[in-house]
Symmetry: C2
Subunit: 332 residues, 2 copies
């Protein structure tokens, strides 16, 4: 029963086309009839139908944000950045959680294609879906976040993960540490690899030896850091400092360390990467290398919209990480 353009046309005594032009401020229309029509539309309580418009204009002004899990403290800020920029530009954004499952990831992609979203921002969990996208069975602009995707003409916005790993390690060395371990999570993502390489490089420049403890499988749970540290004490190979691949792992390490009588930062220094919100709580006070999460979201939406409007070719953005010194690292 919603009032339509047809209805307005009847009341105003003009054709559909005129009404459409009036409501869209089309230049080819007499300003006085335009006002009259707008008035009538207002009175009749007209609400334009975006679905119909989408059908003829072949764009929906919808984008999607495809992430592993909004519950992971890294993503809400990213999402906020994306949504802010999208809304400012008239776009709505679908929130899509893949639950770290590549099958879900691909399922969602075909759903989004059916729905004719104009573009997608993906924090990919699987390289398979990257292939799927770049093989362009999907035919929708995509920008990746969180991990570099260096295949042909891909778009992404990431931080310089190498630098992040480097900075964390460098900071620890400046504090006097020479026995520095790295505890990581995933073993496939570029961010994982880059951070490790940054760590290695920093050590190498000071002729120190690397000690990398990666966790099998992919997990963002604290337990990962916790368990790995436990192994270290079992093997009597506890370093004086640890760079954790991310803050959640750092938290796990801290818990394990303190439970086993190690004082942080007196006995052991721990630095994370990411800067998730609860690291800033005074009781946690985690020293970390921060990612500009909000900016990552916002910038990725920016690029995506450019891509959609065709006003830009592929773009790779690498943002700068920055050190946040708090209380979990001490001098050696």
């Amino acid at each position: 029963m919603a009032v339509t353009i047809k209805d307005i046309a009847k009341v105003a005594g003009v054709s559909y086309a005129t009404v459409s032009r009036a409501l869209n401020d089309h230049p080819e229309i007499n300003v006085i009839t335009k006002e009259k029509i707008k008035e009538i539309a207002q009175q009749m309580g007209y609400t334009p139908n975006a679905v119909a418009r989408g059908l003829v204009k072949k764009n929906t002004e919808m984008i999607a944000l495809l992430i592993p899990d909004i519950t992971n403290p890294f993503y809400p800020e990213v999402a906020r950045g994306v949504e802010d920029y999208a809304r400012e530009n008239g776009y709505c954004v679908f929130l899509c959680n893949t639950n770290w499952d590549e099958e879900n990831e691909q399922k969602y992609l075909t759903i989004l294609k059916e729905r004719r979203v104009d573009g997608i921002i993906i924090a990919p969990v699987s390289t398979d879906t990257i292939d799927y996208v770049s093989d362009s069975k999907l035919d929708i602009p995509v920008v990746y976040i969180g991990s570099r995707v260096d295949c042909n003409k891909s778009n992404y916005v990431v931080i310089d993960d190498f630098k992040a790993g480097y900075m964390a390690t460098e900071y620890l060395m400046k504090l006097g540490h020479s026995n520095i371990a790295f505890i990581g999570g995933h073993d496939k993502s570029t961010s994982h690899i880059d951070r490790i390489n940054g760590y290695k490089q920093a050590l190498k420049e000071n002729r120190l030896e690397a000690d990398i403890n990666s966790i099998k499988g992919y997990s963002f749970k604290k337990e990962s850091g916790y368990g790995t540290f436990l192994k270290m004490v079992k093997n009597r190979k506890v370093p004086t400092a640890i760079v954790a691949e991310n803050d959640i792992i750092a938290l796990g390490i801290m818990e394990a360390a303190e439970k086993h009588g190690y004082d942080v930062p007196k006995d052991i220094s721990i630095i994370g990467i990411d800067d998730i919100e609860f690291g800033s709580l005074p009781k946690i006070n985690l020293t970390t290398v921060a990612q500009p999460k909000f900016d990552i979201g916002r910038k990725s939406a920016d690029i995506l919209l450019d891509l959609i409007s065709g006003s830009a070719d592929s773009k790779q953005i690498i943002l700068e990480p920055f050190l946040i010194v708090r209380g979990t690292c001490g001098k050696y």
Copy 2:
């Protein structure tokens, strides 16, 4: 250039209608031609156009989640709950942040109406938008979360906030406290009022006096709890226990207390409400009355979809809060 039903029809040598029926497993079709058509569609790489379908079927299978800020640690789990249920039932969900602004809230509502979403889940910040909705200028099924909306025929899912306030206070009294204050946030929401009333009632039943310190304006920042506690020490009216309206405020109180030499829980007990994720960190270890956030999201989506399918009238769901005992409350 996407392949359409028309194209398939041509190749298969049948009418549009037949193709449509085949692809939708319509009963009125020969199973063998159905298979043939599906085969062809597959081969041609057909992707149904949900926009066109939405136009004729007058539903979009899209819903929206309208919340103040996904960055607030309360909402990600809720969002996850609604998205999970929605996806399982073929719906996609728009993430809409209002940034605690009622103007944004209403703007978003008209946008969502234009887009013809089938339903909306709202965590309302303003009673004005509730009026706006119930005056049904909007003509879309709505379910509220977080605060009761007791106007005619509204749908909501909340926790029993009265009980939450009551339980928190009761627990403190059981520990021997008799000087118990309440520090709250918002002064308008039903959840705020109910929690206070629960607190009062519990005290009343034990003939104790209430001490309510509400924070002017609305804020979910820690600073609120922090500042209010500071006033207490200034006025030399520090109680032995405090129930905080929510966990974030509780955190602020804890910080202030410890900064001023009060040991938690030895000198002062603090209990929150909500159970946000970082309360569970060992270093924080906040005792709290929990809300089933995921269930709130999931259940609200459930109700909304029922509403959309017309298979149910209005529903008010009140979920049970539950006590999580950790380390911030001690015996007196």
